[in-house]
């Protein structure tokens, strides 16, 4: 069952990296959307949520066009840094990050909007800078909602298939995540392997959910 463990390790690596990226970008975007007042805000919101509604293969195709060797971003990356993202685990991370981003962004926006501005105002009057207010008041009061989004994003990234396959291909040990491994095993008629991989994926997901349950604090401080 060697290939199965390799695929699992790869899936976890890709999903963790993608989720970490989404945490940073999603929280930032969620905050900007929740607190910002600028023209076209809702349009930006819709655009950022697009990966959630577009079919993964469509996303994968767009990505391929952009970061492929002939794409405008990919060509520039190759010219300037010699980096090629196609068929690499980094490419898989990008595909998974894009696909899972809306989960964090949407949850973060809702969570921030639920934080009563009075708390932020009180903190400001007490002498805190905007950054301090964010880290001491806004984020602590919003983090549970954000966490929910992060977990969904992780699960989505873990199961990502369509876009990843297009962008990163299926290279055992490098980009063949669990989902892709299952697909190939089925195509090749290797049912035993497929069953084993599916079981492994299910156990992993359950473990993630249990771990998430542990992370939630035992004390819920007052209403927001």
């Amino acid at each position: 069952m060697e290939p199965a463990w390799v695929a699992l390790g790869l899936s976890l690596k890709v999903a963790l990296w993608a989720t970490a990226i989404d945490l940073l970008l999603g929280v930032a975007a969620g905050y900007a959307l929740a607190r910002g007042r600028f023209p076209g805000r809702e349009l930006v919101d819709s655009l950022l949520l697009l990966p959630m509604v577009l079919p993964p293969t469509v996303l994968g195709y767009y990505l391929l066009i952009v970061i492929g060797r002939r794409g405008w971003l990919g060509a520039w990356l190759e010219r300037s840094f010699g980096i090629n993202l196609i068929f690499t685990w980094q490419g898989a991370v990008i595909a998974a990050a894009i696909v899972a981003f809306p989960f964090v962004c949407k949850s973060a926006r809702a969570a921030f909007e639920n934080v009563d501005m009075q708390y932020e105002q009180a903190a400001r009057v007490l002498g805190l800078s905007s950054v301090a207010v964010f880290f001491r008041i806004t984020l602590p009061l919003a983090w549970r909602g954000i966490l929910a989004g992060v977990l969904l994003a992780f699960a989505r990234a873990l199961g990502e298939f369509g876009a990843t396959l297009m962008v990163a291909g299926s290279i055992p040990g490098k980009t063949q995540t669990l989902s892709i491994a299952v697909y190939e095993a089925v195509q090749a008629g290797q049912d035993d392997l497929a069953n084993g991989l599916v079981l492994l994926t299910s156990v992993t997901c359950v473990a993630v959910l249990l771990l998430a349950g542990r992370l939630a604090p035992s004390r819920i401080p007052g209403r927001s």
């Binding site: 492929g68 060797r69 291909g169 055992p172 090749a188």
Partner: protein, 253 residues
């Protein structure tokens, strides 16, 4: 009164829209190897013209994947594979009608490179140079072109070296796509595939194979329309069908 009329119209519309999903008596589902995509689509049109009461649906993919679908009960009537081995497996699993299998075309294995490639390999050994960093090869477990490639490379004792650079493709058309996009430096496809995209890929050299690349076709045993299935196979073998295949670069069986 009006409500029941509306209800009846809705039901009729629903029935019509699901008609496509149901295998009605005059419908045929053909699963064919990816390399047959263009040729078979044209053959399908011709077949429907000759048999107005039959509609043909195609399902293209890697032969190995198609086999798995049939094995798991997909409602397919005809199966056309890109190599003998897959059809062999189909016969072993009693998925196709015994004795009804027939070879209908042949093809050749080629190495293609992107149209603007600087390094153009001339032999298999040339693939083993640093200039060639990535090579698209169909996944041997399920894609016939990959199996042909592996056999050829193993014979040339180059398989371990090239496998290290291999980018696995789920079908021959995906391998072709990788080359067309320039994501790989070279790829193994059929000559007929290379002909599809002359502006994006060019043939570097033809690869002689020990096993001739001959495609078999057979009606599926569990198919719901054996008469039409047999008619389709016959059509493929007929001068009309063969002419279309020749047009796309396939050779005689």
């Amino acid at each position: 009164m009006t409500l029941s009329r509306i209800l009846r119209s809705v039901l009729a519309a629903a029935a019509l829209s699901t008609a496509g999903a149901l295998a009605l008596a005059a419908d045929l589902t053909v699963s064919a190897a990816a390399s047959l995509t263009n040729a078979f689509k044209e053959i399908g049109t011709g077949f429907e013209a000759a048999n107005p009461d039959t509609k043909v649906q195609f399902n293209f993919g890697a032969s190995g994947a198609l086999l798995q679908q049939i094995a798991k009960g997909a409602p397919v009537d005809v199966f056309a594979s890109a190599d003998q081995e897959t059809m062999q497996q189909a016969e072993q699993q009693q998925l196709v009608r015994p004795g009804a299998r027939v070879n209908f075309v042949s093809n050749s294995l080629v190495v293609v490179v992107p149209q603007d490639a600087a390094a153009v390999p001339k032999t298999l050994a040339d693939l083993n140079t640093p200039a060639i960093k990535k090579v698209a090869i169909g996944v041997p477990a399920s894609v016939p072109v990959g199996r042909y490639t592996k056999a050829v490379l193993e014979k040339a004792r180059l398989w371990p070296a090239i496998e290290a650079k291999m980018i696995g493709a789920q079908s021959v058309r995906q391998a072709l796509d990788y080359v067309a996009r320039g994501e790989v430096d070279a790829g193994f496809v059929y000559r007929t595939d290379a002909a599809i995209m002359p502006d994006k890929v060019k043939i570097a050299f033809v690869v002689p194979t020990d096993t001739p690349v001959v495609y078999p076709i057979a009606p599926v045993a569990a198919g719901s329309n054996p008469a039409a299935a047999q008619k389709f196979v016959s059509y493929v073998m007929s001068p009309a069908g063969q002419a279309v295949l020749a047009k796309y670069g396939f050779g005689k069986p």
